[in-house]
Amino acid sequence: MLKAAEELELKRKALQVRRNILRLIKAGKAGHVGGALSMAEVLTALYFRVMKIDPARPDWPERDRLVVSAGHKALVLYAALAARGYFEEKLLDTYGSLGCRLPGHPDMHKLPGVEASTGALGHGLSIAGGMALGLRLSGLPSRVFVVMGDGELAEGSNWEAAAAAGHHKLENLVVIVDRNGLQISGPTVEVMTYEPLEERWKAFGWATRRMNGHDFGAILKTLGETPFERGKPSAIVADTVKSKGLPFAEGKVEYHYWKPPAEELAQAERDLAEIERTLG
């Protein structure tokens, strides 16, 4: 069980990650907000509790890796890396400026801690599978985590990668699907359904769990139990809310990409201040 004090600390970190996301959007005047906010708790848990990492040594061979396959979630990656100390948070204020180190989709050659350059959907799982294979061949105990969007699952390449990971029994591979239920053109199950989602992963040789992607108790318990089965990769379906933390935008398809008018930005700041108040 997660101790209350520990949980509070993690919630504070998640708030810092959300504040960083807002800081980026404020600087850049726009950004993919919805799918970034829905992963704030998951990335906080990964970077502050779960992954074996050393921000001072981003190239440490034995580190765990995170591949953000849905590259448009770059903002939550930058926000979490900054919060974890991979680089100074003030770098976030350069988002959107000419010549900055923060492209709209992550570029691993520009920032420490970015494990793969993504942006076109449906590439990350294959790359991560290859890393997991490579780690196994090198005899390293490191693990590879992958964050994917639920709309992204429509790309057929993901299922090629899923089959290969199951076939090769990549126990050191963990996928987290951000099941926020939305993509650009509407609710995901209406556009192109992936249900029954857990059964799909199972059919490809994966062990699966479902969790509330905003509840640190559930997240740490689930991630703590990976690999769920010997000889199988692990897939976690995280039930989340797109734009979580900004009630005016939560669950709304229009906030996939956000060019905030001043009043919405002010509202967003008030919403995060309110979260801070409830944390005490």
Partner: protein, 308 residues
């Protein structure tokens, strides 16, 4: 230009009930007109461009015109073999439309930069490659694309691009449009960057150099006659494209010039053969990579003076 594209396509679809749109989650904010007017002729396959292209091929093989549509490289490179083996090999009547060629999505990064599309699409047999320069060309190109029986690639601009042409134009696939005449050298542009070539011609004029400007809205089939006339009638040829310097417009023009012999001074203005790790806005990146009109003009002068 993308709004105009959608408006013109919708107008044509009112009169032609064989036009279908097959999409992959992208285009919202622009394609609703078509989607709402013709729900039976509109499919959104989800984020799955390979399937989008294959489905479009099948729809076309049933006697229809199928339009695929997305941004940057998603409807081209993400599904290249479907374009080659399904669309082109079958000579299927599929129109592949991208929004935002070149560096249009500037700060979104390399995944969103379509900088090899012209070369790759051009290498596919039976593919027509269009890159309109302004709204007038864009509108005419939609009509020409639908009227053409077979695969067409259409590189569409992203925003409100300036008008290159002052008056009505005679747009025909495979026929360059002369924007201004000149006797010293010829600037050949394709797509929305052609406007900067046109501005460069103005700068050259003020320096006493008379530049002809051609809008090569069709990269394939290339207008050989216009290229050869430029080589004959002016002293040098410069191509300008928002694309890797390899294999696109410059490559196509070089092939024609080299085979014709004659050794006319020639220069390709394009993006370097490396990924653009620099992050910034569209215009800023263009200026950085030598597409400022002053820079194009200076490159042209160096060529004329034999200093390149």
């Amino acid at each position: 230009m993308r709004s105009l594209f959608n408006k013109v396509l919708l107008d044509i679809a009112e009169k032609n009930d064989r036009i279908y749109m097959v999409l992959a989650d992208i285009g919202y904010g622009e394609i609703e007109g078509f989607a709402e007017r013709f729900p039976d002729r509109f499919f959104n396959v989800g984020v799955a461009e390979q399937n989008m292209t294959g489905v479009a091929c099948g729809v076309a093989m049933e006697g229809n015109i199928a339009v695929t549509y997305s941004i940057a490289n998603f409807p081209t490179l993400r599904c290249l073999e479907q374009i080659r083996n399904d669309v082109c090999y079958h000579k299927a009547n599929v129109k592949i439309v991208i929004i935002g060629g070149g560096l249009a999505y500037g700060a979104l990064g390399v995944s969103h930069q379509a900088t090899e599309d012209l070369a790759i699409m051009r290498a596919l047999p039976d593919m027509v490659v269009l890159a309109p320069a302004d709204f007038a060309e864009a509108e005419a190109a939609v009509h020409a694309m639908i009227a053409h029986d077979g695969p067409v690639y259409y590189r569409c601009g992203y925003k409100k691009e300036p008008a290159l042409h002052g008056g009505p134009i005679d747009f025909r696939i495979g026929r360059a449009i002369q924007v201004r005449d000149g006797s010293d050298l010829t600037l050949i542009g394709t797509g929305t960057i052609t406007y900067r070539a046109f501005e460069a011609a103005g700068i050259l004029e003020s320096q006493g150099v008379k530049a002809r400007v051609l809008s090569m809205h069709t990269v394939k089939p290339l207008d050989r006659e216009a290229v050869l006339a430029a080589a004959r009638e002016t002293r040098a040829v410069v191509t300008v494209e928002e694309h890797n310097v390899l294999g696109g417009l410059g490559g196509a023009v070089a092939e024609v010039l080299a085979e014709a012999g004659g050794g006319v001074p020639f220069l390709r203005v394009g993006l370097p053969d490396s990924y653009i790790h620099l992050v910034g806005s569209h215009n800023w990146l263009l200026d950085h990579y030598g597409f400022a009109p002053q820079a194009i003009a200076a490159s042209a002068r160096r060529l004329l003076e034999g200093r390149q």
